[in-house]
């Protein structure tokens, strides 16, 4: 293999490129990215960058020296528009194309939008900087969607002195992700910090002066942030013969087709640890999967079987979650005290421990739960005997 192309120059693509070099791959390595900025980190966009605490330069994932040590053909500002697997070519928007022997797809996701003009989304550095400029004391911000992203942005905007209304179509925010009970606990903090959380409110469009709800009402706002989830960037793969269905479908080796692998937010793969197909939009997964895809492209043949992990910061709450919480059938508080917002919740599916979520707990307290999950522990063994600490 002499020519490897990685499409998508963010967390997953960079981790893949770096791993290829660390594993001794010496051929041509092309990293193609639509954004003009060198690879940067997204989680601080809804935290330190929106708050104005960090300069944008702090987001750089690697220094210029580190990037040049990778001996990359770095093509920033280049958009992949098509894939011809027979000719082994990636086509670019500028009319050029790049040949490959091995390909890693790491094109991530983009923010979903609402009909109408004028709403912000929060996915790129540019988005964050534009939104930041518009926030300040007395400004009215409507946040559409009370998922983790919307909740983080609402918290920061409050801290900046904005009047914030947080609109969520579901009766309980985050319930589909973390369960009804934990979703309720997490969303209580909004009211305590003066955010006007309105649940059961579906927004249909962004409009002049605010947003329109399904019942025809106008919620007034100076600025609107639409945080209603994302769409995988897979349009450029149409006609390539790869299976695409809410992400690039891969096997347990992150392989989409011979010589073609996918990693990060765009990849839907079979996680053998949970026996399920999943697509994970977490920062740690992007790096881990980029590394796994790179190794497997070079022939490692190692199934990618991680325990997914994410964190979220809201007000003074630190949330850490391990596992695959979606689709759980039971949640139990196994340590701490919900009233004090210091607790650890365990998630069950069938007879498996599938997830653990901690709020305000020392992260070390969660590690043993992570290890139990990594070993495929049964629910009855951890809950009756307790996890080893």
């Amino acid at each position: 293999m002499n020519r490897i192309v990685v499409v998508g120059a963010s967390a997953a693509g960079l981790a893949a490129a770096e791993t290829l070099r660390r594993e001794g791959y010496d051929g041509t390595l092309t990293l193609i990215g639509e954004e003009l900025d060198a690879p940067y980190d997204r989680p601080p966009l809804s935290k330190q960058i929106l708050a104005g605490d960090w300069e944008a330069s702090k987001l750089a994932l690697r220094t210029a020296d580190q990037l040049s040590a990778l001996r990359l053909e770095l093509r920033l500002g280049a958009v992949a528009t098509g894939l011809d697997r027979e000719a082994r070519l990636v086509h670019l928007a500028d009319g050029g194309s790049i040949g490959y022997d091995g390909l890693i797809v790491a094109t991530g996701v983009r923010a979903r939008r609402l009909p109408g003009q004028g709403g912000h989304v929060l996915r790129t550095l540019h988005d964050a900087v534009e939104l930041r400029k518009r926030l300040g004391p007395g400004r009215r911000l409507a946040v559409v969607g009370a998922g983790f992203l919307g909740a983080e942005a609402a918290a920061i905007a409050r801290g900046l002195g904005c009047e914030v209304v947080l609109l969520e179509p579901a009766p309980v925010p985050l319930a589909h992700a973390v369960g009804d009970r934990i979703g309720r606990i997490l969303s209580q903090v909004h009211g305590e910090h003066g955010v006007d959380l309105r649940t059961g409110v579906a927004v249909t469009a962004v409009t002049d002066g605010g947003v329109l709800t399904a019942d025809g009402a106008l919620v007034e706002a100076d600025e609107v942030l639409v945080a209603i989830g994302s769409r995988p960037n897979t349009e450029w793969l149409e006609g390539s013969g790869l299976t695409v269905g809410d992400g690039v479908v891969c096997d347990e080796f992150c392989r989409a087709a011979p010589g073609v692998y996918a990693a990060g937010d765009v990849a839907r793969w079979h996680n053998p640890l949970f026996g399920e197909e999943m697509r994970i939009e977490h920062r740690t997964n992007a790096a881990e999967q980029g590394m796994a895809a790179a190794r497997n492209l070079l022939g490692a043949a190692r199934p990618f079987a991680p325990v997914p992990y994410f964190w979220s910061d809201q007000y003074d709450l630190k949330i850490h979650a391990y596992g695959h919480l979606r689709g759980h059938d039971l949640v139990t508080i196994v340590a701490g005290d919900v009233a004090e917002r210091r607790f650890l919740a365990a998630y069950r599916k069938g007879d498996r421990l599938v997830g653990a979520l901690a709020v305000g707990m020392p992260p070390k307290a969660i590690r043993s739960w992570r290890q139990a999950m990594a070993m495929g522990a049964s629910w009855s063994s951890v809950v009756s005997e307790g996890v080893p600490s």
Binding site: A15, D41, P43, K58, A60, M291, Y309, W311, P362, P363
Partner: protein, 65 residues
Amino acid sequence: MKVEFDEPKCVAAGQCAMVAPDVFDQRDDDGVAIVLDATPDPSLHDEVREAAAVCPAAAIRLVEQ
């Protein structure tokens, strides 16, 4: 190899301590990483590189000598 750690960036994910437990630990209270050994033995270099690569905050920087 020298391990540099940008503490304010750390999000207490603990990936480093899982991948390279001889070189990284986490503070008990808030989980922020601690570098146990800033000039690790060559036998540990592979896992330290793995830890730096997997750190979701890019808080670990390695100066290879």
